[in-house]
Amino acid sequence: MNAGYVARRLLQLLPSIAGIVLVAFLLLQMAPGDPILALAGESGDAEYYAFMREKFGLDDSMPEQLARFASNAIRGDLGVSYTQGRPALTIIGERLGATLLLAGSALVISTIVGVLAGVIAARYAGGVRDAAITTVTLSLYAAPVFWIGQLALLFFALRLGWFPTNGMTSPSPPDTAFGQFLDLLHHLALPALVLASQQVASVSRLTRIGLVEELSTDHVRTARAKGLRESTVVWRHALRRALGPVFTVIGARIGYLFSGAVVVEIVFGWPGIGRLMLSAVQTRDGPILLGIFLLVSTAVVVANLITDLAYGTVDPRIRYR
């Protein structure tokens, strides 16, 4: 891979990230409401508010606050949470793992299931199976994710008792490391499947389109003519090429996964940044909100970059300038 190209793509990230930070910061400044009240509680006296206001520098001018934030952000210091009095980055970091686990699992599950569904749909393109797969995956996409989550919770967790109803671990976790791992998987399964269900449609559709196209190419016809088995043709020859688009959209999907995770975390009591964000919204905890914004948008941008660069390794037809 060309180092100059990578460097140029990296440089292109900076204005995007700067733009996002600016948008979030302006929004926070324009909004009515005063974070001091989140910080100092509901019934303090005026003197007490003045004291806390000074302590957290809320009376500085807007450019000063923005400049302070930007220079701190570069050093990895996103300021101190108004409500918790701890560094925002520390707090976000504590929740990040849970969200990454949830979103990552959903990404893997939806990609695998989506590719399988897409392959089936492509092989029986125009048939009943194709239509069934399209209908089911598109319906899962069309249904609000919280709704699917609630139905899954009521049915699989409450009625059937297959999964725990909330959280990431049991109140009384098993003693062994392996037991704890299984415990975690057990808690992860339902929220990850729900979050993944939304994404299957886009993956299976891309796979199907790419594969249908591939299967009609001369390259594949030649392979068939050589007498190779159809499954070999599909899996060995056509799929590898057809998968390119599936990987290029992973970057875009990261954004949707984070969005979906906010909602899924709330349905399933999953302790990630989505829930942190919602409580920060309720208290207008600026540093936390700005931090999460910065993080989510950076994740999207970086994921775009990685998929961009990785595309070439999946589909050798892509050549870098």
Partner: protein, 282 residues
């Protein structure tokens, strides 16, 4: 498939025929049409005032109240019907804002080229990575739940793809002779934009618009779930959010708004598919 002006009317009539030739196009168009009609005639169709507590509290579906009532005793069917209107108003307004900005940015960018094009495209990249759902949460929580806030935030961030499409059309048309000749004949830039370029970009714009509407309806629903819906305008998201606390005792409050959202989003997506097929854009 780039068509000249004389062909566009013909294109419009055959497009509908081709749309209805596919199952997904047929289903999508019908569902979308139904939802639009319900939204337009909500006042006539709704059996009751959706905001008036006229019935018993938490009644399951009965002949009187086909979708049951909520805790305050309001008729859910009327709520779902009026919700269609609110959800469509939000979605279509966002679509309109996005269309206007997308056409302006894409048109100027493709037409002007050079540095301005560079700057606008860089700006587009920034807007593209803005996490829209997160922005919407922030905006609604800060400025209070209001339709206008939601429309502005989503509209101002949803035009990127339209701008790209328009820009690509402009670039490809600029390269074509007949535009060049139109230009040399002294036609004004805006006239070329509206007469020659937009008609060709609009079909793709409509596909994107159908998918955008679906996306906006889902976002609105999720905001409602998070308790960030506007109580002054009954929307599907608001109904779904209200159903939260009644999950175990009043299934109808969650099921009917959920089904309405799912059906509409599905319909819009199928319509998008159908249009894609009909235009041979796949």
């Amino acid at each position: 498939m780039i068509l000249g002006r004389s062909e566009s009317r013909h294109q419009a009539t055959t497009l509908i025929g081709r749309l209805f030739a596919t199952t997904s196009g047929k289903v999508g168009a019908i569902v979308t049409l139904i939802v639009l009609l319900v939204a337009i005639f909500a006042d006539v169709l709704a059996p009751y005032d959706p905001l008036s507590p006229i019935g018993p509290s938490l009644s399951p579906p009965t002949r009187e109240h086909l979708m049951g009532t909520d805790a305050l005793g309001r008729d859910l069917l009327s709520g779902v019907i009026h919700g269609a209107r609110t959800s469509m108003v939000i979605a279509l307004s966002v679509g309109a804002v996005a269309m206007v900005i997308g056409v302006l940015v894409g048109g100027i960018s493709g037409y002007a080229g050079g540095r301005l094009d560079d700057i606008l495209m860089r700006f587009t990249e920034i807007v593209q990575v803005l996490p829209r759902f997160f922005l919407a949460i922030l905006a609604v929580a800060f400025f209070g739940p209001g339709l206008l806030t939601l429309i502005l935030v989503l509209g101002l961030t949803s035009w990127v793809i339209l701008a790209r499409v328009i820009r690509a059309e402009v670039l490809s048309l600029r390269a074509r002779e007949f535009v060049d000749s139109a230009l040399t004949q002294g036609a004004r830039g805006s006239r070329v934009l509206f007469r020659e370029i937009l008609p060709n970009a609009i079909p793709v714009g409509i596909i994107y618009l159908a998918l955008l509407l679906a996306f906006i309806i889902l976002i609105e629903a999720s905001l409602g779930f998070l308790g960030l819906g506007d109580p002054n305008a009954i929307s599907w998201g608001f109904l779904a959010g209200q159903a939260q606390q009644f999950l175990r005792v009043a299934w109808w409050l969650s099921v009917f708004p959920g089904l309405a959202i799912t059906a509409t989003v599905l319909g819009l997506n199928l319509l998008g598919d159908g249009l894609t097929d009909a235009l041979g854009r796949r």
